[in-house]
Subunit: 192 residues, 2 copies
């Protein structure tokens, strides 16, 4: 898979051989729109790399309300870290929003790669740090900003995605109703 190799090369710490090795451990999977990679109750057994397409990680409340935790597009990752690390049942669902190609690694497989290729572990840790920083940022936005500002911030942080994701799913990511987000967008783009 081209995309993944390019992605790993961008870190400039890995040899071509190592890249092949990491890639070689992965299981490529193709998904149709709507297809699920994980559902609540399952244990999240893989780290997921998105080579093409778009994934959505979300949670369904008893009343049917969906809350989106994350969108993962090309060169992005998806996982339920809690379920993956502890091998406990997940609360989340991971679904393809478009037809999507992913690479999967089991935890055992990843651990083995980390042992063999120390710089790959560093890269992975660096990613986890970024993920934590982003979460902090998102919490801050959520407790301090208005719905308008949250939408603005989402556009800043995902300039490539906000046209690609149905508005009602963005709403479920921001924690506002689709109607509200529709009206915000209407105001923002000045009538339209």
């Amino acid at each position: 898979m081209e995309t993944f190799e390019d992605y790993l090369r961008s870190f400039t710490q890995l040899t071509e051989l190592e890249i092949k090795q990491i890639q070689g451990c992965s299981l490529p999977v193709s998904l149709r729109r709507r297809q699920l990679l994980l559902r609540e109750g399952d244990v999240c057994r893989h780290k997921i790399f998105v080579a093409r397409g778009l994934l959505r990680t979300f949670r369904v409340r008893p009343d049917g309300l969906e809350s989106t935790m994350r969108f993962s597009a090309e060169k992005g990752w998806a996982i339920d870290p809690e379920s993956y690390v502890d091998q406990t049942p997940s609360h989340y669902r991971i679904e393809a929003l478009e037809s999507t190609k992913v690479l999967l690694w089991t935890r055992e497989c990843m651990e083995e790669l980390f042992e063999t290729i120390p710089s790959f572990r560093l890269i992975s840790e660096r990613l986890r740090e970024k993920s934590l920083n982003y979460s902090q940022q998102r919490i801050f936005i959520n407790i301090s900003h208005t719905a308008e500002e949250k939408y603005e911030d989402f556009i800043q942080n995902h300039p490539d995605l906000f046209r690609r994701i149905p508005l009602h799913l963005v709403a479920s990511y921001l924690g506002v109703s689709r109607e509200t987000l529709s009206r915000i967008r209407h105001k923002r783009h000045g009538g339209h």
Copy 2:
């Protein structure tokens, strides 16, 4: 410092010698109420362990609104991970809510300890995972729950703290106005 030793012992992976060693690298500091450990613009140079008292990590918006990211009580940690890791200026302020005793370690010091005591690194990584899980949980609550439910959740997660922290600071943690939280609490505890 007794508290820290007890805390480390609770992980049951460290020898007494190692505990002494970790403890020995730390710088103990006492803080009065209101005193700051970090202010915005500073680089966060230390990991902070709270041996006694209570810290609050928060951010001040241009209009003066304060948003609390975290409370750290006895046997808890405080840090701005982003500033600490990248050594960039922080956006946060860390302040003592009560008179507080903390232990500080510089990043260099921590790295050295991790090299010397591998199981201490594991413990630290485990803590970071928990921190990430908790952040995810908090995001989920924030985008899907009502103010009431958020307050309820806060009480569940911090049963020891919610009586100790002024209500208006809890409000700034939940992202609601103090008046709203006051009314929620009134309803909840049935008049009183």
